[in-house]
Subunit: 163 residues, 2 copies
């Protein structure tokens, strides 16, 4: 299994401004949910990158391993739909996880054209380790939001996405 | 000025699941702020794409025009930092806006190596039109969140990003 390569720092996007400051007027952007969600996401991802940099994984790879772990034998296209990334973007991420020995791609039993994904024992162990790193990372970020801040945020986002 | 090209539908990412359903168990993902912020952002962006598809613009191009409009003469690198996108990703977006006649790039007066960005009258008019489209789009999405939902969401995101 090749060693994890840290994600190069120049691939990490940093959040922008959420208010007019530094002499720059942000106009209506901080009042738009799309703009603010993007900045919020960059902020959490940046923190995630720093925490998991030594592991050489990106947020979607964590999501893929989590979904495969809970749904053994799932097809790549169903993983892509479930976590909201394009099939074309999923393929190289799955290949990288396979090369590192964390998951296997096999032909599905019922449909020989379809692939089915399974975690390896090494992948299952790795995922448990990542869980143990991600939990304190979430808690630290959530502290910024005060009591019930995280729950309120998650509830609003769920309502928004469910439509 | 070349006509606006609609954004191809296959370039539009769709949000994934925010709860375990459709027979797929999402594990801990819906309890992670990073995952949920990503889904929320995709949801709003998808709506934004549909609303502004005929205009052929993407969310960051809206942000660029907004920031240049409020800060005439701003340098491209300052726009990139302000809205949180990488300089390399900014260049083609600015070029596209320039080609469509919405902004101009000129050498800054004090530092001939630095570029300064200005909106054209056509760009200013276009931005006013986009404002008039984006406002109802925001209001429609905010309706999902109930009374004060949008304000609560924006306040939590500001607190998160400010750190």
């Amino acid at each position: 299994m090749p060693p994890a390569k840290p994600v190069p720092p120049d691939l990490i996007e940093r959040p922008g401004q959420v208010e007019s400051s530094n002499g720059i007027d942000m106009g209506i952007l901080p009042s738009l949910m799309g703009y603010m969600l993007r900045q919020g996401q960059l902020c959490v991802y940046q923190d995630f990158f720093q925490v998991l940099a030594a592991e050489g994984i990106r947020p979607p790879q964590f999501s893929i391993l989590e979904v495969v772990s809970r749904n053994p034998g799932i097809r790549p296209s169903d993983v892509a739909t479930a976590i909201g990334i394009k099939r074309a973007n999923l393929v190289p991420l799955v290949s990288a996880l396979e090369k590192r020995g964390f998951l296997t791609r096999a032909m599905a039993e019922l449909d020989r054209r379809a692939q089915s994904l399974h975690l390896t024992p090494a992948g299952a162990e790795k995922l448990r380790y990542w869980h143990s790193i991600v939990k304190p990372h979430e808690d630290r970020l959530a502290e910024r939001l005060g009591a019930h801040g995280r729950e309120t945020l998650l509830k609003l986002l769920q309502t928004l996405v469910r439509g």
